[in-house]
Symmetry: C2
Subunit: 204 residues, 2 copies
DNA sequence: GATGTAAAGTTTACATTGTAAACATTGTAC
DNA sequence: GTACAATGTTTACAATGTAAACTTTACATC
């Protein structure tokens, strides 16, 4: 039943690779990037400070893996949003936006890492999973076009517009340029996207 | 004529505070954040490794000052864009977007720092200069509304939408989701903003 | 079952970095 | 000209990333 590797007494951890990533995410969440040191991560996983080197070439490799995990979580979250609104392409687009912002606001340091230095680097695997997140939105846009809710035309560019807007808003939240409670978040995101959707709607 | 402080032989630098910030920006530009160490910054300014502590409480304070300088540069750049298109509010908005993206693409590490960890921290001065950047855009939006080019209504929210979109696009460039040459950048930004402006236009 | 080997973890060691403390030099006010 | 404040330097140390050598365990093969 339970396929998760057992603690197996000691020494061999069993699944240190993932344990380190999880420990890293927790640290990121609780204390920010500056607290994300290899030694603390190792400590949380209850291994010696050099153990991570059996699974990651260097700190940068761990950061990349943490970013990758973030994109996978984001993809799943967005896909959930799509699945919950199967009937309405418009609702799907709005829900994707809401969930994206929600993720970014609840995991600011993680999101920052995902789009920060590691992404600038050459890393095909990371670009791949990031692209997978984007594709969830792109598919929803295509779907909306087929349903006649959005203009035909460059779906990729439309998706980039929406993603940009939502991602930008998430970052701006940190700036508190848009100061309102989280209870109104859904309405705020909705309002912004509506503005954009009006410009992209078929009725024009 | 020349009011810049002289090197004054040695020992006292004359303007170490700004020299450190400039050195930091250069390092950021040439080698990325991970290379931005206090000791390297000090070295570039040709002072001993502990000299920065006479001007900055700690590394974080220097990073905040570098971020602040970035916002000031950004504000000036955007204001330039506005001034060049005094006659046309619409052109002003498009020009602001282009210049923003241009800044972000040519200084990715700097932009990342500006919106990264330092901004999450409590720092009123930094929030102030960030807000000043935003206000350039906000003023342009208000202006466009008065000229009858944009809907009346919540100008702050409109500005947030535009800023979000442009900022998001800048970040996405790193992802190469929108893969096109820089020569077409202007057109791309223009196209995206046009989509949004359509939704915000008075004609609706 | 004994054994050899690869995988995974530990220990030791060291260079780099941030930062504190004590000391040195210079500009400036009286 | 002298005292003091501002600004640099030197020395010292703890935390961190990383390499190297060593240890323990799992597993395949006989």
């Amino acid at each position: 039943m339970d396929n998760t590797p057992q603690p197996s007494a000691s020494y061999h951890h069993g699944d240190l690779y993932n344990a380190l990533i999880e420990a890293g995410i927790t640290l990121l969440q609780e204390e920010g990037v500056s607290a994300l040191t290899l030694r603390k991560v190792a400590g949380r996983a209850k291994v010696s400070h050099a153990a991570p080197y059996r699974h990651f070439a260097d700190k940068h490799a761990l950061l990349a893996a943490i970013a990758q995990q973030g994109f996978q979580t984001l993809t799943a979250t967005m896909q959930d949003a799509v699945n919950k609104h199967g009937g309405s392409p418009r609702q799907q687009l709005l829900a994707i936006g809401e969930h994206y912002v929600q993720f970014g606001i609840t995991h600011p340091a993680h999101l920052n890492l995902m789009f920060g230095e590691v992404l600038q680097q050459e890393n095909d695997t990371l670009h791949e999973v990031a692209r997978a997140s984007f594709n969830v939105l792109l598919n929803a846009v295509t779907h909306a076009q087929q349903a006649g809710i959005l203009k035909a035309g460059n779906s990729r560019q439309m998706a980039v517009s929406m993603w940009s807007m939502v991602h930008g808003l998430t970052v701006l939240k940190g700036l508190r340029l848009a100061e309102q409670g989280d209870s109104e978040l859904k309405e705020y995101v909705g309002g912004m996207l509506e503005q954009l959707l009006e410009g992209l709607a078929t009725s024009n």
